[in-house]
């Protein structure tokens, strides 16, 4: 398996790289650290200059060298400089060419208190990738470092796509020998200020269904817990759940996604705003 890390010589790039190392270690995958330079195909009023392009290329090589120095020896890694119209385009292209299994990027700066905000690159990936996309929250590179994963949380709704999502989460949890936690997000589809009894009931039912499904389908060697997240808004619900600093959250794609493509749904986007831990968005089946 090859994991593609979208790298820039910025704190966000370092976050992405650290998450990449943690994931690659758990999954015994190899890392492809990718820096994207702008291809000349971009329209420009400024004539490009061969000398400057070469300078940039050399600088980017230096960045990749520094990045490679951060990666521990037990994780095989390779650096790539890619030319594309945009950063996102470059990552998608390289992921296709190298048959990457996941794309990992850092969240944009500017999120409050370490929460993730979606930058333009991540946003483009989260609406078009065909492989899972992992987002490292701001600052996670320095707070969590290269520690291994401690838990996988998988956010399930009633919508289509949950099976694929569950499979992806199980795969990682198993490989890393860590517990899996399922969060039922059914209540969160309601937009009421107070939760009416029938909704609460439905939430409970859904949680039961999820657990039943897990009991039936999930392998026995896995430690599975189920939790119902509640709150008036998605953000509140996420805030009240306890998060381990080293855990990883899986969410599915919106119903709007084309088959086998990623499309960040509204619930996932709201979760992203509050999540203090990395999030992986899985394509629709």
């Amino acid at each position: 398996m090859r994991y593609i890390v979208g790298y820039t010589d910025t704190p966000a790039g370092a976050d992405a790289l650290a998450l990449g190392v943690r994931l690659a270690r758990s999954m015994t995958a190899t890392l492809d650290i990718v820096t994207v330079l702008r291809s000349e195909a971009r329209p420009t009023l400024v004539p490009s200059d061969a000398g400057y392009e070469r300078f940039l290329h050399e600088t980017a090589q230096g960045w990749l060298k520094d990045a490679a120095a951060v990666v521990p020896r037990d994780v095989p890694s390779e650096g790539h400089i890619v030319y594309a119209e945009s950063f996102a385009r470059g990552l998608l292209d390289v992921s296709r060419d190298l048959e990457g299994s996941m794309i990992i990027v850092g969240a944009a700066r500017g999120g409050l208190l370490g929460r993730a905000t979606v930058g333009s690159v991540a946003s483009a990936l989260l609406h078009s990738a065909v492989v899972p996309v992992a987002l490292a929250p701001e600052g996670s590179g320095s707070t969590v470092g290269l520690n291994g994963l401690t838990r996988i949380t998988c956010a399930l709704g009633t919508r289509a796509g949950a099976d694929e999502l569950l499979d992806a989460a199980v795969l990682v949890a198993r490989a890393a020998h860590i517990p899996l936690r399922l969060i039922s997000l059914v209540t969160l589809d309601m937009d009421d200020m107070t939760t009416p009894p029938e909704v609460a009931e439905r939430a409970a039912t859904h949680a039961e269904q999820v657990l039943a499904y897990a009991a039936e389908h999930l392998p026995n060697d896995l430690d599975v817990a189920v939790l119902t997240a509640s709150g008036n808004r998605v953000e509140d619900a996420i805030k009240h759940v306890d998060w381990e600093p080293e855990e990883l959250v899986f969410v599915g794609s919106s119903r709007l996604a084309k088959p086998r493509h990623i499309f960040l749904g509204t619930t996932a986007a709201k979760m992203l705003r509050e999540l203090p831990v990395p999030m992986v968005v899985v394509p629709r089946d």
Binding site: A41, V46, P47, A50, R54, L56, E78, Y83
Partner: protein, 513 residues
């Protein structure tokens, strides 16, 4: 898309993925020259030097530009480097002359940045006046405080755009350049219609004498005019150096450069003859000899010529200035970056923004210096636009001249190797360099006269002279400070003196042609 491992260096630089077609190359060329801005800034000062013979000077002025541009292309092919003149002159003549060439380039671009922003400010308020039908608004540009503040705002905008490397789409570029050309042609034609109808301000019949460079009164007027006309073609050389990325056959860049220059020369001749026929060179209200309007002639002439359509001129000049501001910002930043990289300046200058992939630090420094320079000049000079343009011509002659000589010296072992080399590596650059050197020294000597140019002077010495000398002397001072603090570069340890061995840069051999 191409993938390269870090170790393999330059094998493919992504240039193959994108290339510029013939039309694209012409559009870039024209937008770098920015004819609407250039004409409004340079026409007045040129008229004040050579009178009616502006068309002749435009035709002759292209020659040194062309000669040097050929040499520029040779160097760019042999040593593509973002430091251009700085790197090439260092390789040819050693660190001291190389440093000064880089300084000259930076000074010239900083002068033009401040002039560009100044023109943009004038037209911004003119456009407001036209939109709100209130002529008083245009006078706001005369208030030095409002003027400087607006100018700083423009510079801030342009810096942000350059720093973040925001780019317009190709369609927008085509539209902007096309619009600029159309407006200028319209301006020319309407001016001639006024002349024919007898409604011109000071109808002056065109005569062949206008195209005769020998009719210029004196050699110093001729030299001053020429150094201004070098400014009006400045930027054209990019069409020659776009070789690497122009798609199609090897002849595309040549054709793009030729077509660009034909379009530009025809356009300039049309505008120059039309303006002179319409307004004459007298000192009347709209006469091109009127000192009050010479720094920015379209500002004064747009209304009388186009009437209600004058706002088109404002939009054209503003958009042309904006495009030019963007392409001009790149060149001092890249040269500063190269100087930082090779240790000729603090290494901060070599910093590349990892997010935007631009020479961030160098961009901000250029912007701050250009803004400060404009703010000071606005208060010191009687006619800031005019003086900066004249000083600019001088600085272009300085660093282009050094570059031209660097061509000859760098290729000294091979310029006799073929007939082609004799022309492109010896005769053309040598002749171009000599012309520029003569222009440079003539301008220096003449500009000591307090009446030179706009007549701004400090203590009886012409401001243009003080500017030119100030730039060169401060360059020498900073160079000496750098030599003490960072001696490696000046000992030739980072960028050594060399001579061409006839080999072209490896990278260029693999480029698609």
């Amino acid at each position: 898309m191409t993938t390269t491992k870090p170790a393999t260096g330059l094998s493919k630089k992504g240039l193959s993925a994108g290339s510029v077609g013939l039309i694209g190359a012409i559009v870039i060329g024209i937008s770098c020259i920015a004819p609407a801005y250039t004409m409004t800034a340079a026409l007045g000062p040129t008229v004040s030097e050579v009178g009616l013979q502006v068309p002749a000077i435009i035709l002759v002025g292209f020659i040194p530009m062309l000669l040097v541009a050929f040499g520029y292309r040779e160097l760019n092919r042999a040593m593509p480097d973002s430091g251009t003149s700085f790197t090439w002159a260092t390789r040819a003549f050693g660190p001291w002359i190389g440093w000064m060439a880089g300084w000259g380039l930076i000074a010239a671009t900083i002068l033009v940045l401040s002039n560009l922003a100044g023109i943009a400010v004038d037209f911004f308020y003119l456009m407001l006046a036209q939109i709100f039908n209130n002529p008083d608004l245009a006078d706001l540009a005369l208030n030095p405080f409002i003027n400087v503040v607006t100018c700083l705002a423009f510079m801030l905008g342009a810096t942000a755009i350059s720093y973040r490397d925001m780019r317009t789409t190709q369609k927008v570029q085509y539209v902007l350049v096309g619009f600029q050309l159309l407006v200028l042609v319209l301006f020319g034609i309407v001016a001639f219609i006024h002349v024919a109808n007898g409604t011109a301000f000071d109808a002056t019949p065109i005569s062949l004498e206008w195209f005769n460079p020998f009719a210029v009164e004196s050699f110093s007027a001729f030299a001053a005019g020429l150094s201004l006309s070098i400014f009006i073609f400045w930027g054209w050389d990019v069409t020659l150096t776009m070789n690497e990325e122009t798609k199609g056959s090897r002849s595309t860049p040549g054709r793009a450069a030729t077509l660009t220059v034909i379009i530009i020369v025809v356009l300039y001749l049309l505008i120059a003859t039309a303006s002179i026929s319409f307004a004459g060179i007298g000192t009347g209200e709209f006469g091109l000899g009127n000192e009050d309007i010479q720094g920015n002639v379209f500002f004064a002439l747009a209304g009388p010529v186009l009437g209600p359509l004058a706002i088109l001129v404002s939009i054209a000049v503003l958009s042309s200035s904006a495009a030019s501001l963007q392409s001009t910002f790149v060149s001092p930043a890249r040269t500063l970056l190269a100087m930082g990289h090779y240790g000729a300046l603090p290494s901060n200058f070599a910093r590349v923004s990892p997010r935007f992939l631009t020479p961030g630090y160098a961009t901000i420094v250029s912007s701050v210096v250009a803004s400060a320079f404009y703010a000071i000049m606005r208060f010191v000079s009687e006619d800031v636009l005019w003086d900066t343009i004249t000083a600019l011509g001088m600085m272009i002659c300085f660093y282009y001249g050094i570059t031209a000589f660097a061509v000859v010296w760098y290729f000294r072992k091979q310029f006799l190797a073929s007939a082609r080399n004799v022309f492109f590596q010896l005769l053309f650059p040598l002749l171009g360099g000599v012309i520029l050197a003569v222009l440079f020294f003539t301008t220096i000597i003449d500009s000591m006269d307090p009446d030179y140019g706009s007549g701004s002077n400090i203590g009886g010495v012409g401001l243009v002279f003080i500017l030119g000398m100030g730039v060169i002397l401060s360059g020498i001072v900073i160079m000496i400070i750098q030599a003490i603090r960072r001696p490696a570069f000046f000992r030739g340890e980072t960028l050594s003196v060399g001579v061409s061995n006839g080999a072209e840069d490896d990278a260029l051999d693999e480029l698609p042609v």
